[in-house]
């Protein structure tokens, strides 16, 4: 190292446990507490510049960094999977800056940070689910102005939200929102559940776990305390319904779970497998077999030879 390079390396600050300084964590925890006290309300907070890009989970990372302790076990998923690159990257970040235990097992985790999915396994009172949120404002695409949307929330003026659903039905015959499907929390605030598929919406209702939502770029935190009513918006004669898959998981035969479509060739060959990779592995470990699972075992042996 040259003298100058040494100066720079020596002069740079060392990072605190879980990256953020304690004052910042306290500020974020205050925002979280306020969010818990007013379920579904978006609390502005002084989001920090994080060492990963805005839009890549900086809100979720700040929330996790503020609540995680040395005894916690962290699970990070993206699209339901622990091994998607951004989930891997965020997990590695916390291993590096907080040296916490990590797991892929939903049941073993005390803090689960997620992007786009809620685990299939029901969560428990000893767990916290942290969502990464890109756009926290459910009214944003109906009204782009923050000053106006805040007023609409304050005065509970949500007619516009139903106008959107009405338009869907008038145009398509049914509600055409498939993800980031708006919900009413505790009979008061309309909330964006983050871009989870609406398949996951029912899991938020009366959930035993604390659910926290962090939007870094938009500088908002909100929360659903345990056992809170979360209702997906709908019409009486066009009730909310979730997507149903016609076939079970090709690997573990699970039904009533969310599936990823996997393209097998360029001739329309495809298979459907659990989006929640941990759920799928657990089921297979317990002996459940889908119609392509045998082949998989065969392929593995073949590869081994």
């Amino acid at each position: 190292m040259t003298g100058q390079a040494q100066d720079i390396a020596g002069g740079m600050a060392a990072y605190n446990f879980a990256y953020l300084d304690e004052q910042t964590k306290r500020m974020i925890r205050r925002a979280i507490l306020k969010g818990i006290a007013i379920p579904g309300y978006q609390v502005p907070f002084a989001s920090r510049e994080m060492p990963m890009p805005y839009g890549w989970g900086t809100g979720g990372v700040q929330v996790t960094a503020s609540i995680i302790g040395r005894d916690d076990t962290l699970k990070v998923i993206d699209q339901g999977a622990d091994d998607t690159t951004n989930a891997v990257s965020i997990r590695a970040f916390f291993q590096k800056v907080a040296d916490v235990a990590v797991t892929t097992r939903t049941r073993e985790a005390s803090v689960i940070q997620t992007r786009h999915r809620i685990p299939e396994e029901p969560l428990t009172a000893s767990q916290v689910l942290v969502y990464q949120v890109p756009i926290p404002e459910p009214l944003r695409f109906l009204e782009p102005r923050e000053t106006e949307t805040r007023k609409m929330h304050a005065l509970e003026e949500y007619g516009l939200m139903h106008v959107k659903l009405y338009e869907d039905i008038a145009r398509h015959g049914h509600i055409a929102t498939t993800y980031a499907y708006p919900v009413l929390v505790d009979d008061r605030y309309v909330m964006d559940p983050s871009p989870t598929p609406k398949f996951d919406n029912p899991k938020m209702d009366m959930c035993e776990a604390l659910q926290l939502f962090g939007a870094g770029r938009e500088k908002r935190i909100y929360a659903i305390p345990p056992y809170t009513r979360v209702v997906s918006l709908d019409f009486e004669d066009h009730p909310f319904e979730v997507q149903r898959f016609e076939e079970p998981c090709a690997l573990c035969a699970a039904r009533d779970v969310y599936l990823d479509e996997v393209i097998l060739d360029d001739k329309g060959g495809r298979m459907f497998v659990c989006s929640d990779t941990d759920h799928c592995e657990e089921r297979r470990a317990a002996g459940h077999r889908g119609h392509l699972a045998a082949e998989e075992a065969y392929a593995t042996t073949e590869a081994a030879q």
């Binding site: 509970e156 139903h162 106008v163 009405y166 338009e167 008038a170």
Partner: protein
Amino acid sequence: MSGPREDDQPLLSVRGLGKRYGDRVGCRDVSFDVWPGEVLAIVGESGSGKTTLLNCISTRLEPTTGAVRYRLRDGQERDLYEMSEAERRLLMRTDWGFVHQNPADGLRMSVSAGANVGERLMAVGQRHYGNIRGTAANWLERVEIAEDRIDDRPRDFSGGMRQRLQIARNLVTGPRLVFMDEPTGGLDVSVQARLLDLVRGLVADLGLAAIVVTHDLAVARLLSHRMIVMKDGAVIEAGLTDRVLDDPQAPYTQLLVSSILQV
């Protein structure tokens, strides 16, 4: 039917209302009452303060002085500017209507006609798609818009249709008081006549009270029971429409009547 006792009392009372824009006077010391089911016209030349006054009494613009009291459905009389913003906004989307001169200001231009009419119903908690759509279709018919246009957007409507759609959107929650600022302003004469007919019919059928701003004395004559005449921000004459137009007292009103109604 509500008892006669209630009709004895004004729906809206304006007292000593004034609005200044810096040094300029928008309107000053205006007082009048509006009774249930009554149509009041506010007339006067351009710049006389009509729009200012209408906006002040409909809580769209905070007055500098004076009070506006409104009788709620439960008979209670409230000062509009002492109500919370939430209460005022609820009033505006349930008990009141506001018809803008330019329909684009009062409509959602990129949302279907059905949703435009249905929005207020959804805002007050209706959650049955079929019923909302049925009511919207019904209202489109009442304002003479063909039912098969229900899924079209106001962008694709003519000026007259847009104005009729705006009226339907306002009346769907059965308001008791409707404010209109030059409702026929941007329309050509034959379209104006048809719209005025329609408004007159609706107001009579529904027993609505209405406050209509216009600079056109013919509109006032056709629609209103009573009228007030404004000049330089102040009311210079008020009375039954026929009386004011046939026997104007104030010299300015005389001038106005003679210059316009000569035909």
